[in-house]
């Protein structure tokens, strides 16, 4: 089995590792790096639970190899809140709107919303809802998630 040295930044901290070529990024982030907020719901790119931000873009970490992240800057759900515990606006809005129940799909949904609302070009509600259609939540019926998305886009009633 081939192994490869990689170096990347996770939530602002440098991380060095030697990984097998076949190691999937989600498994690397959870197991080797200890960011268990990255959830794996399907391992085949459908559910969105494993979404993290790689160099500014929301990415399904179950569809990427760890070696492909060499040199990248990655943010996981653990990296969003401020050091003093103040929640990121996406996290706070999801909490206010009861956008979660079991919380398993939640990190992925939060990261997609954070990626799309974080930059200078704030996404509108249509963009956010389209992006969320690639996330499966089995618990909530999406009611609070939709309210949160509309609120984040500034479209909430």
């Amino acid at each position: 089995m081939s192994t490869h040295p990689i170096q990347l930044t996770i939530n602002g901290r440098r991380h060095d590792a030697t990984v097998e070529g076949r190691l999937v990024l989600s498994d690397f982030l959870r197991g080797d790096a200890g960011y268990t907020g990255v959830h794996v719901g399907c391992e085949h790119g459908v559910c969105g639970a494993c979404t993290v931000i790689v160099d500014g873009l929301a990415v399904r970490s179950c569809l990427m190899l760890a070696v492909q992240a060499d040199g990248a800057a990655i943010t996981t759900v653990e990296g969003l809140a401020a050091d003093d515990g103040t929640l990121h606006p996406v996290q706070q809005t999801m909490r206010d709107e009861h956008g979660l129940q079991c919380g398993f799909c939640t990190p992925g949904i939060v990261m997609t919303l954070a990626a799309l609302t974080g930059g200078p070009n704030k996404a509108n509600s249509e963009t956010l809802l389209n992006a969320l259609s690639g996330h499966i939540c089995r618990c909530t019926g999406y009611q609070g998630i939709r309210r949160a998305a509309l609120k984040l886009a500034g479209d909430a009633a």
Binding site: T36, G103, L132, Q143
Partner: protein, 914 residues
Amino acid sequence: MNAPHTQTEGYIGRRMARTEDTRLLTGKGVYVDDVGLPGMLQVAFHRSPIARGRIKTIDLSAAREIPGVYAVLIASDLARYKVDMLSFFLALPTVPVPVLAVDRVTYVGDPIAMVVAQDRYIAEDAAGLIVIEYEEQDPVVTLADAKHGSLVHPRTDSNVAAATGSDEVDEDLEALLAHAPHLVSIDLTHQRIAQSPMEPRGVVAAPQGSGELTVYLSCQGPQLAARWFAQAFGMPATSIRVISKDVGGSFGLKGQPWREEVAVVLAAQLLKRPLKWIEDRLENLTSANQAREQEIRLRVAFDNDGTLLASHADYGINNGAYPQGADSNIAVMMFLWAAHKLPVFGFHARGWYTNTVGLAAYRGPWALESLAREVLLDRAARKLGIDAIELRRRSLITRADQPCTTPMGLQLEDISPAECLDELLRHVDVAAFRVEQAEARKQGRYLGLGVATYIEPTAGSTGIAVLISESAHIRIEPTGKVSAVVSTHSQGHGTQTTMAQVIAERLGVLFEDVTVHEDDSSRGGYGSGAYGSRQAVAGGGACIRAADLLVDKIKLMAAHLLNAKPEEIFLRDSVIHVFGEKEQTVSLRDLADIAYGEPDRLPEGMDAGLEVQYRYRPPPITMTSAAHACIVEVDGDTGFVKIRRWVTSEDCGVMINPAVVEGQIAGGLAQAIGCVLMEEISYDPRGNPTAVTYKDYLLPSISDVPDFEYHHGASAPSKAEGGFRGVGEGGCIIGPPTLVNAIADALSPFGDIPLQLPLTPHKLLEVIEGRSMARPAPTQPKASTPADAPSEKPMSVAEAVVHEPSSALTPVPVVETAGIDGLWKFILSTPMGPQAFTGKLATSGNVVSGSFYFNMDEASFTGTINGNNLKWDLKVTKPMSITLKYDVQIQGDKLVGKVKMGIFGTAKLSGERV
């Protein structure tokens, strides 16, 4: 004194943000796959690729050679442990369930071997190198196969896994149906559903110390799981602790440990190492027990004015090979007409074994009753020319009709589907919709309105030994903060929040001061966790009673210390106030300091500390009622269904947290939408699952689920403590008929829609276009059409062997009555699973008398003897009043027979001399 307005007033009923969410939103939840232990190894299973066959050889050598593989185990390696794979009711299965397959495989995905390796990648590599030779047999896949095909399990006399309702035709009922002014009949099939929690199953098992076993488990309740393990393993010397912190949904799937979890726990003991198994999605969709897959023929006789005269249901459910409790789903029959004025009802219900993965619970396991009834009522309305809502009004039991008892023996006190329907119609303008619908049709657009009502039994506390009471243990800690250990358990339910709301309000403390623990079987007493929509009612009631007792103690203590009367003491915002002549306040912390540190200062005879435990048993059943309406548009070109509006009207009693209640309703409705429109676990004729990823098993996404509107105008408090009612399963029960009726209404210009879920665009387009769009059937290899095979086809040798006459049919020798007297062990196969008990029989002439002994309870009877045939009647009152008619054949030291259980049909009895 005018008490100041304070925060602790009104926690119950407040839409509070959830305590759980802070950790879950920041990645700090602890799900089972987040647990790691030193030396922990990972497990992968090797599973059967065929649905049915004999295992000829197993070759593990290549797997064992892979570096990093620690062990490869098969059934014989675990044989030293005797395990009873109990049902959820903790009953023994009629057909033994192996932990790993022994000699034969019974479904695709049947686990045969487990690889233990240093990581999951290596474990899967090795599992793929295991070589097994099979003698493949034709599988029994569908309900139709089960009825006519060969036996799924040897040593059974048919594929019937469980039965209720008699095989004999009820002539009187048939006459009523035949001669009524109108007979309406439907045949409905419901597809198989994968519960699909976003977190699949998983376990970490760690043997510790001497005889301690810690099991981290994704489950519905750690106490129930611990009780199950202890009883299934029969290991009194091992203390089993189950820890279940955060769980990523369950919906019935994780109600009890099953084959894989048990295999991992046994292997951890065998290898003396911590082991982890996390189910992947492929395994979850092919090898985790599933639900639904049912068929029903429902017939109803109506008078000309729509009055219900009689009904009969014929029902079948696929139990798969190893159900978690063989089931013919008596609850479907209990609730089909429970809210309706229907004088005569009969049924025939059968659960069937097949070579598919076994049956488990899924949110509202009996939901088919509402679907069948509500769909039939709409069809009847069209046939009788009566408005569908009016037809319901004429037969629904109203509040004014209660209390009353249903023909199935259910006592009703406060159901309100009729009142919910009235409330619903205040928010849905049906007349205006009909105008809009007519206009739309002129433009070739098909709008439909569906309405349904239902009642849901929640928080049952009778008849099911594992679901009786819940426990709450509340402590004011020496710090003055409040800890509570409650036997509830959240897989998304938010009980850490709702139970804290109840406790904070009843104690008079700040919500922030209360921490609820429900994640560890060793912390508190038995409770079932999330089961049967019981947590708000049973857990909330326990919290109220415990908190009230604790308040009493605080008042006595504070009154004594402050020289006041107990009536002058009250708690608010975590502060003890004394009103009266000398107003003053004391902190809970100060009181706790004395309670724990200086108990000599307490009133005479009062125990040290500030803690109370209470076990609450709610009323036998707490009913929730609802009426829903939805409006859809079906695209005439594509057959796609767009849900435009969904209005709910629920009587869920006092709500602890409306946001949590709405979350339960919405989540259930989204699952209902999946059921009706897209979800389907399917098999090819060889029993191969054909939906094995989320690209084939479609779940509703955000664009499939509309905004829901909630109305509670018809709500009334229940009789349970706090007035709460359960809401966990309702959306999944009332959602399907509401949506199916809306689609049927939309397409009514084209005729009836097919009643085979899911209603895919393809099926609806066939209705719209009036033609079949089936692709030409692929030609199957000859051996692969068991469904079409005539039942009298020549049997293979293996099948012929299992068709030996069963013992019940063996000619019986004449016995002396003296051979009857003495102690016997009996097993009665009831709808709840087999029930074992002992009894004594004594004869005198041609009279037999005897007693049955159940755990410190006794029932006596007398009856008659005729040769080796004994007959007697036994009246029981629990779970309902019924006379059991025993008819028994003695065969030496064994006996076989049947027991007629009134309307519930006949149960098998077997016994042997002790």
